[in-house]
């Protein structure tokens, strides 16, 4: 049956191509096909920016997005999927709240491109509206931390005292994994603590609040919003500060510095010495009077 259809189709195509030999025919057909697909998509797909969404509307739209982009790992109702061996294929999202969605999807960590020890930060796939719809849907599954507002994480106007206190809090609670300068570090089994340079205040705040992946939770009841803002102001101050002492080499401490000194520094000197020793001009002509 399929064979016969195929042969019919090829016969028709053959007839068409025999009759019309214009070299614009193929691009024209392609263009018409693309336009038709686009028009159909525009007519059928849910409009994403149709003015102000009511919250139930956002939840419904978020659910549609969720079923397409997230349900294959997190389950059709966000209940999570456990593999036959009892491992977590995708964790349950009930009770994680909107803040977790805003962090994971807003930094491109979700949707994950492939299973692995850790979801890496990558290009963000969803628009801001779509992220807020997804967040609204996940927030409707169970009570959790909501997306923080700008007043929660805004540190403009924070002075030396906040930075000092934030530094103390950062060195006590965060440096074990994220390094004293926020350069990140390695964890067991191919996991890692990401670097905190260039991360937006909102995402740092959300990460503290929700504890994504292996990171522990630092909830507002224990590490207050004020503490969190102090930590963020410290990190931002670190970012602004110019490296007075020279190359920071990733601020990873003696490892990168030693590697540079031994490989690059001493390597260049050894290479220079070898080069000197192997280059000596000699002349074939004998010195006069000595031969």
């Amino acid at each position: 049956m399929r064979l016969r259809l195929k042969s019919t189709a090829s016969r028709v195509a053959g007839a068409v191509s025999r009759r019309r030999r214009s070299r614009f025919a193929a691009p024209a057909v392609l263009l018409i096909g693309l336009l038709a697909t686009g028009a159909t998509y525009y007519a059928v797909s849910p409009a994403s920016a149709s003015g102000s969404d009511s919250s139930t509307d956002a939840v419904a739209k978020g659910r549609n997005l969720f079923l397409v982009g997230c349900a294959s790992c997190h389950g059709q109702n966000g209940e999570g999927i456990v593999t036959k061996r009892g491992k977590n294929y995708g964790p349950s999202l009930i009770g994680v709240g909107g803040a977790a969605v805003d962090f994971q999807v807003g930094t491109g960590r979700m949707p994950m491109a492939a299973p692995g020890p850790q979801a890496p930060e990558k290009k963000v796939t969803y628009s801001k509206t779509e992220i807020s719809q997804l967040a609204a849907y996940v927030a409707s599954l169970g009570p959790g931390e909501s997306v923080p507002s700008k007043s929660d994480y805004d540190t403009s106007g924070y002075g030396t005292e906040s930075i000092r206190r934030g530094g103390e809090l950062f060195r006590t609670n965060c440096t074990a994994c994220h390094n004293f300068a926020g350069s990140g570090g390695a964890l067991p089994g191919g996991k890692y603590a990401p670097k905190l340079v260039g991360v937006s205040s909102k995402h740092i705040y959300e990460a503290l609040l929700t504890g994504p992946q292996q990171m522990p939770v630092f909830s507002n009841d224990v590490l207050t919003p004020q503490d969190k803002r102090d930590i963020i102001s410290y990190l931002k101050k670190n970012e602004r500060t110019q490296g007075y002492g020279g190359f920071s080499m990733g601020a990873l401490g003696p490892v990168s510095e030693g590697m540079f000194a031994w490989l690059a520094g001493i390597g260049v000197l050894v290479g220079f010495a070898v080069w000197i020793a192997s280059h000596t001009a000699r002349v074939r002509k004998r010195e006069e009077g000595t031969s």
Partner: protein, 357 residues
Amino acid sequence: MSIDHEQRTGSELVAAEPDPVPDPGMEEHLPRPTDVDPIAERRAERQVATLFGLSVLFTLGFCVAYFAIKIKGRTDPPHIFGWGASNVALGGCLGIALLLIGTGAILWARKLMGDHEIMEMRHPARSSDEDREEALSALSLGTEESGIARRPLIRNSMLAAMGALGLPAIVALRDLGPLPGKKLFHTVWTEDMPIVQDVTGTKIKASDMQVGQLVNAEPGVFYDAFTPPGGGTTVEVPEGVTAQEDRAKAAIVVVRMDPDAITPAKGRADWGVNGILVFSKICTHVGCPISLWEQQTHHLLCPCHQSTFDLADNGKVIFGPAGHALPQLPIKVDEDGYLVAQSDFTEPVGPSFWERG
């Protein structure tokens, strides 16, 4: 003489077993351009002098930069390419000055100094038989003439004098004491001591702890004087060196896990509160502070030598060089719902020591 010896042995070997790879001998010595061409020689001379002269200029540049670029008392000193201008100028000038001296010296040696190839043969390591016999006879003559075997009084008193020199070392080492006594077995934790957050000193409510939460904490006595609720002597806030030492030893991590994930050891079932467990923050290997906790695997990793402890399994060592499980602090909640200690740690915290084994 030794060269002759070597050559003879070499030719004997050749005679016994023909060498498959013949000795190519020394390469023909060819003169350098500067040896035969006076113009090249003068040019090389000028090159070396130029390098040394440039070095002087850069050294002077260092001195000028030192005084010209003001950094003292400035919160934002001048920058070049995003680095401190003073550092770049000082380091650059001095580095180039040294490099020029070195390059000049090498150029001088390779182009103008004497150009002879020198060969030196290796000597046999063993002394000749005459030398060996002479050394032995000198030794026995010395023993005989000093009479160390015949005069035991001198021998014994000399041994006593040298042995006594060990005493000053022992007396001086005594200053390292006194012995720590029971200090290593205890921390400042006692019954009903509040668990407070490090840095801020705020108490922790059990109901505020979420699953997956981590708190770096300290005993409350470092922030407020502690009076046991049942009455008793008030412990003042420690100060000075003692405070630093005690604080370092008493540091803890408070974590909350899913209670179903926890497998408490015998007698430890009531050491936690609804999945909230407290462990020492001091690694049992060499005492690094550890708070690198993976909330999903419940593993606490020491960044120094990768010792890994499973906090859901009584702080058991699951990887790395640590010899003991991480000590757990038994906790409870007070009448207001805040976390407090049940007692001190039941074992010494931190690295192993002799008496602990």
